[in-house]
């Protein structure tokens, strides 16, 4: 290994992930070809569906909001060396918190309600993440398995609550009562209208702004606070952290609770922003895609934003796709997601040795040329 040089940053965090993403998209194109459709046409429809008209933009950013939250959630835990596969369950329980707050504290004025909603989501999501975190930190149970189990437990719990407790009397559908009108998050198009700007209506709401704010806060937290430093130290080397006087267990619990809270903010977008009530399975796999978002974004808030935008585009474009080409269903987007996770996450090291070798050779030759 001594005869290779370290890769410059732009290759490490730019070119390599891009290469992997390209490969994922190439394989996706082959899948489209195998089904007997034209991949170029598919890309055109995807892009048009995601960005081609005013309304599309709103939808794309609405999906992006969810992915930012779940991506940040995975990233914070990952910086502590933890795999939080439980964003799905944490967001689900966070939704319960938001709904309960909105249903029982509906006398509060809106700005205060927004704070209460955020707090409720955060507390419920963090509490749900606390148990696996505690078990990992203090009893050594593997967080991957416990968070998976907690997704299923959350799902059963919520079905029980929605069917038996939260469902309004006389209603057959397992969903909560509507939250009152004055507690919902304003849509961006309504906000723009009040400033005299005309925008097409879409589900994009205030929580998008909150997602951006959360990204900045996460960046500050991870790289510019004492806790963030401790979390990264534990993630890099828990033994070294212990010698440095950091209790890894404590920071495992802190990182997981923050991770759970971030995941639960997805519920702000869905419950307070768009659906205005608690629906069964409203998390719809966003938690899992968050893993891909974070990995692609190299666990950095800015990268996560870009990756979230990519997935938001795929979601919205994918909806358009299933209208335009009946043989290609929305599931194509799920396939692309899977491939992106596979290539940018699991096979991220595939090109690294070769690229490192090529870069080293190029550097050596350049050095020799300069010397001559």
């Amino acid at each position: 290994m001594s005869n290779t040089v370290e890769l410059p940053r732009w290759i490490d965090v730019g070119a390599l992930p891009l290469l992997n993403l390209l490969l994922a998209l190439l394989v996706s194109a082959l899948v489209v070809l195998a089904i007997g459709e034209n991949p170029i046409k598919v890309v055109e429809i995807l892009l048009y569906g995601a960005f081609g008209y005013d309304e599309a933009w709103g939808y794309t950013l609405y999906y992006t909001t969810n992915f930012i939250f779940t991506g940040l959630s995975f990233a914070v835990a990952f910086h502590c060396g933890l795999f939080n596969i439980g964003a799905e369950g944490q967001a689900y329980i966070g939704g319960l918190g938001v709904t309960l707050a909105a249903l029982y504290l509906d006398f509060l004025p809106f700005p205060l309600m927004l704070v209460v909603g955020i707090m409720a989501a955060a507390i419920f999501g963090a509490a749900w993440a606390y148990i696996p975190a505690y078990l990992q930190a203090r009893r050594g149970s593997h967080i991957v398995i416990t968070t998976i189990m907690f997704n299923f437990i959350a799902s059963s719990l919520m079905v029980y609550l929605l069917v038996n407790v939260l469902r309004p009397q006389g209603s057959m559908t397992p969903e909560s009562e509507r939250i009152s009108e004055n507690l919902t998050l304003p849509f961006i198009h309504d906000m723009a209208a009040s400033f005299g700007i005309d925008m097409a209506s879409s589900p994009l709401n205030l929580s998008f702004v909150y997602a951006i704010a959360a990204s900045v806060l996460v960046w500050l937290f991870i790289w510019h606070t004492r806790w963030g430093y401790a979390i990264r130290t534990v993630g890099a080397n828990a033994v070294a952290a212990t010698y440095a006087g950091i209790d890894p267990g404590r920071y495992i619990i802190i990182a997981m609770m923050i991770s759970g809270a971030l995941a639960s903010f997805m519920a702000l977008n869905e419950v307070m922003g768009v659906q205005h009530r608690l629906l069964i399975d409203f998390t719809a796999g966003y938690g899992f895609v968050g893993i891909a978002v974070a990995l692609m974004g190299r666990n950095h808030p800015f990268g996560i934003f870009l990756a979230a935008l990519l997935f938001g585009m795929l979601y919205q474009g994918g909806a358009e796709l299933s209208f335009e080409i009946p043989t290609i269903s929305n599931d194509m987007v799920v396939v692309i997601q899977g491939l992106v996770i596979l290539f940018t996450g699991a096979m991220e090291h595939m090109f690294r040795p070769r690229v490192t070798k090529m870069y080293t050779a190029w550097r050596l030759r350049r050095d020799r040329m300069e010397a001559a």
């Binding site: 398995i145 416990t146 038996n164 799920v334 692309i336 596979l342």
Partner: protein, 323 residues
């Protein structure tokens, strides 16, 4: 007498619901004992179920479907191995990727092939695994107690159920009584030592994930061509994860895993029958609680409150030869 019949029927259902779990849990065990985390059981099961239903439909023969399922899951296992063993990628991420990929892929191809919303066409009798009546079952049917026990409970299942139950002692024998098994366990505990002995760690781990693929392929085929009569979108519905939980609950060993699968299968069978039933003294049983019980039990076990579940030492770590 009626309670007796009820119990027999419940146990009969338990055997049917635990069969896919047993095969998948054994699959997970082979992979994980060799050091490769296999979260992809869910996706592989789904892929296997789809391949089995599709090929059985075209071929009109469930055995061809079973072979297709096994081929598909071996391919997925090799993909998982390629990412985790060859390229030392993250095993958890690779597993999740395969799960998501297969959830989309099976639906996508299903719609492209059959245009039935992701379902495969219903299979006729000849293209499914049929119940087998064991010899003498008809004869002893009317003998009290033992008759129904043999006729209802033990006889009358399809071949895959029997294969699953035979696979447990077979897996035990391979794992603990053969050189292959010894080496497989060794690469999961201390790959460095195995490497020193001149055995390729990479090759051993690949062989382990292929074993895993064969078993999980059978569980997928069971879902779509034995228990069911077609492939349905996301028909595994978390069974892969339950199998994973059962494997952990069984502490990565074949017989304890079998009991965990039977327990979880029993809970599943009971949950279906308890829907809306009011038990005296308890009131209506919340079915969701029974459904969540396997996961709750696994968490409690992992927390170290019921014995200790110690995973293989090298689990989750790719082997890096020293340079």
């Amino acid at each position: 007498m009626e309670t007796f019949e009820l119990i027999i029927l419940l146990l009969d259902a338990t055997l049917r619901t635990s069969t896919p779990l047993i095969l998948a849990a054994l699959a997970g065990m082979f992979s994980e004992r060799s050091g490769t985390i296999n979260l992809a059981l869910e996706g592989m099961m789904l892929g296997g179920a789809f391949a089995a239903a599709t090929v059985a439909f075209y071929a009109g023969n469930p055995w061809v479907g079973l072979l297709a399922a096994i081929a598909a899951t071996i391919a997925l296992s090799l993909l998982h191995g390629f990412a985790c063993i060859t390229h030392k990628g993250n095993q958890v991420v690779s597993g999740m990727a395969i799960n998501i990929l297969m959830s989309g892929f099976t639906a996508l191809v299903g719609i492209a092939l059959f245009a039935q919303g992701g379902k495969t066409p219903a299979l006729d009798k000849a293209s499914r695994f049929q119940p087998i009546t064991l010899p003498g079952a008809e004869a002893v049917k009317d003998v009290p107690i033992l008759g129904p026990l043999y006729f209802e409970l033990i006889s009358g299942h399809n071949i895959l159920v029997y294969i699953a139950f035979l696979a447990v002692p077979a897996a035990w024998w391979v794992m603990y009584r053969t050189r292959f098994g010894l080496r497989l366990r060794a690469v999961g505990e201390n790959p460095g030592a195995v490497d020193t002995a001149g055995i390729s760690v990479v090759l051993m781990r690949y062989r382990a994930v292929v074993c895993s693929g064969v078993l999980v392929g059978m569980s997928g085929a069971y879902l779509s061509t034995a228990q069911g009569a077609s492939f349905l979108h996301d028909m595994t519905a978390g069974k892969g994860y339950i199998a994973l939980a059962a494997m952990v609950f069984g502490k990565w060993r074949p017989f304890p895993a079998l009991f965990a699968c039977l327990l979880f299968g029993f809970l599943d069978a009971a949950a279906t029958r308890l829907q809306g039933v009011v038990l005296p003294g308890i009131g209506e049983v919340p079915v969701q609680l029974v459904q969540a019980l396997p996961y709750v039990l696994t968490v409690i076990l992992l927390a170290g409150f019921i014995g200790r579940a110690t995973p293989p030492k090298a689990l989750g770590r790719a082997y890096v030869k020293e340079r």
